[in-house]
Subunit: 411 residues, 2 copies
């Protein structure tokens, strides 16, 4: 097998990403754990709620005392107490008796159901008329209804949502064991690229990629480290990439759109210990000049300099690697919404490569249509006008007007 | 009109949210602006890129010098210079001449197109053989191709994405004018509710809602302020709500599932200056006991105590208000993905109210199915097992097995 310098398929690059080891675990306060990935299965440390609770305002009863009763044939129960919220009742409900209880109150011993207040009437100071029968368990949560001790509630690799944080709070877990966030260094190159402050001289452009990649890395659940600009010069690139490797798991180097600069990037990447060139060119448009060198547990990635190409390459080729490092399937576009509609016009495509076309939603007589945003690939405004991407598979010669296609919506 | 104490429709509550004024603008560094909402239209302060750039490696030419040429009838052009990246060329391209240029290089005066290096051959030290014709504008970006000075690129109310941050970097805008984030105070009540650290005594439960709402508020683009627990007591509630009103735009008070506590909440809310009861009860399940009191520019919201109900009420009833304060349409579920599939079983529903059913994806012989997660509404694990919600409109008696329905995917 000699994959070097052959253009590889997107599927092959994503499969390589899937071979990457999951990063180590760390602990974080649950208040900062949303969006993080669980490092291990989460088991309930105790039963939840741990006692029987009422889900209604009413009376705690022995269900059998209400069997057969109705509006026309009520039962009469003796009131033996009232449950105080947040306290364990200090009485039992004996046969023929009941206790006043509110939503969330703890069921007293002896009782096995709650009769809603709407189905009762006070028939004296201490006599409750029950006009409906209840079955054991009615209008209560049992001690293990939410979770039994030891039960696995969430699996390793799960991305924590608001309700998962709530569950951990319910279980008294103030810390979550999550996968460490990959540290991703961002380097922009190009002798024509200048910092964004100040006015570029003629021939110069501002460093768009650092700012765009910084956001993409954050969105992907990783931690960016901005290294700044590096000139297109072997020694300078070697120095900045080496410095990035000291602290980061991944180095993203964007720029160098000319062929000579791309070759320089590849050579610099391969100069590091244990370096192994995995990918040099991918059958995808935009994003073709993608370089991936693995150096031990670290990854050196070369991305196109044009921001639109850089961004598509990130979504298609880099994010699956970050997903894998976080212990998830190496999928692209996990954070994208999906929307299907008819295509407003033909989109030609070259077979043999995957195409990602920037697209927007339009409407024709109230019907939503997906319309490609055409424009030269170096233009950032195609990304601004676009609401998402339409994927054209490698074996397709294009998509036809009127065909129903799926649009991947930018997050 | 007398809306007070009548249960109102979800649509009515969302329409009321839409009457809320947009908050003021503030400036933030673009590195922290992703997810924020633009306070005003964004116009290009200058042309972008501002000069003509090559999109290929090759030769800057006068297109007319290549007209009619081909592999078999090449043109010969005299090399008059090389464009240095990031510099304005100090020469003109005269008729019959060309200049070496790399991707991203600035087009020299006189040239109007770039001939790709693949279509050329050096026919001597300073003679380039051109084997293909190019039209004016080929393989270049013009000075205003990305944006012309004054052009509106993004509209007020737009939520900033990674590429929008990149665009601002390209334009040298280091700060963005965004809508101030609503400040949202979070108060949990209930005498049975205790802080999450330590073991609750029998009858007590931990404060799940503070942690869940904290995340929901952040997700919605607002800024949470955790006020902690307050007892179900008029003076205590009055004090904590008053303190919250000093600094916050919105107060979320959850808990008080019993009818008496809900009435107390409503009374406390209405005791503040300019208080106006807008909503007391909504035709939605879960989430019915929602209270909305407007006090001047501020909003006092009562949410159900059970976490699942609290969460649905937040998504359906609170998030549209936050959207409106951020200058967007008062829509629910904007951040939710959508997925359509057949329903695995019948879901009955009571006409006259909107139902939100927790659901998960299952599969049957490889076909995706949406299956309701049944469970008592007080259970948090129904939210954990669920991947989203299925909405049943108010005029429906339920959904049938096999019907294709839409699931709103939890963010």
């Amino acid at each position: 097998m000699k994959p070097f310098f052959n253009v590889q398929s997107v599927a092959r690059v994503q499969a390589l990403a899937g071979e990457t080891a999951v990063l180590s675990a760390e602990h974080t306060a649950i208040t900062t754990a949303a969006g993080r990935t669980l490092a291990g299965d989460l088991a309930a440390p105790h039963d939840l709620p741990g006692f029987s609770r009422s889900t209604m305002d009413g009376f705690a009863v022995r269900a059998r005392d209400t069997f057969g009763c109705s509006e026309t044939a009520p039962a009469y129960l003796e009131l033996c107490g009232e449950v105080v919220m947040g306290r364990e009742p200090d009485f039992n409900v004996q046969p023929g008796r009941c206790a006043k209880i509110f939503t969330g109150g703890m069921l007293p011993a002896g009782a096995d159901a709650v009769l809603m207040v709407e189905h009762t009437r006070m028939a004296g100071d201490t006599t409750v008329e029950a006009a409906k029968s209840v079955a054991p368990g009615d209008n209560i949560l049992g001690p293990t209804d939410d979770a039994a001790r030891g039960q696995i509630l969430l699996r390793a690799g799960h991305e924590l949502r608001a309700q998962d944080i709530g569950l951990m709070a319910a279980l008294g877990l103030e810390q979550a064991a999550v996968v460490r966030r990959p540290k991703v260094a961002i380097v922009s190159t190009g002798d024509e690229v200048v910092p964004i402050s100040g006015a570029p001289a003629p021939g110069q452009v501002r460093d768009v990629n650092t700012y765009t990649l910084d956001q993409l890395v954050r969105q992907a659940g990783a931690e960016p480290l901005v290294m700044g600009l590096a000139p297109d010069d072997r020694a300078a690139l070697q120095e900045v990439v080496g410095r990035a490797l000291d602290t980061c798991d991944v180095v993203l180097l964007s720029g160098g759109s000319s062929v000579g600069t791309r070759d320089l990037t590849s050579e610099v990447f391969q100069s590091f210990p244990q370096a192994e060139l995995l990918v040099h060119g991918v059958a995808v448009s935009p994003g073709k000049p993608f370089i991936w060198v693995r150096a031990g547990q670290k990854h050196l990635l070369g991305l196109p300099g044009q921001v639109a190409s850089c961004m598509v390459a990130f979504y298609v080729l880099v994010e699956p690697l970050i997903e894998a490092m976080l212990g998830r399937a190496p999928l692209a576009f996990r954070r994208f919404g999906r929307l299907s509609a008819q295509l407003a016009r033909n989109i030609p495509s070259t077979p043999g490569r995957e195409d990602y076309i920037r697209a927007r939603l339009t409407s024709n007589n109230g019907t939503g249509l997906i319309e490609p945003v055409f424009g030269k690939s170096g233009l950032i405004t195609t990304l601004i006008q676009g609401q998402g991407l339409v994927r054209i598979p490698a074996d397709s010669e294009g998509l036809y007007q009127g065909e129903t296609v799926e649009m991947l919506l930018f997050p």
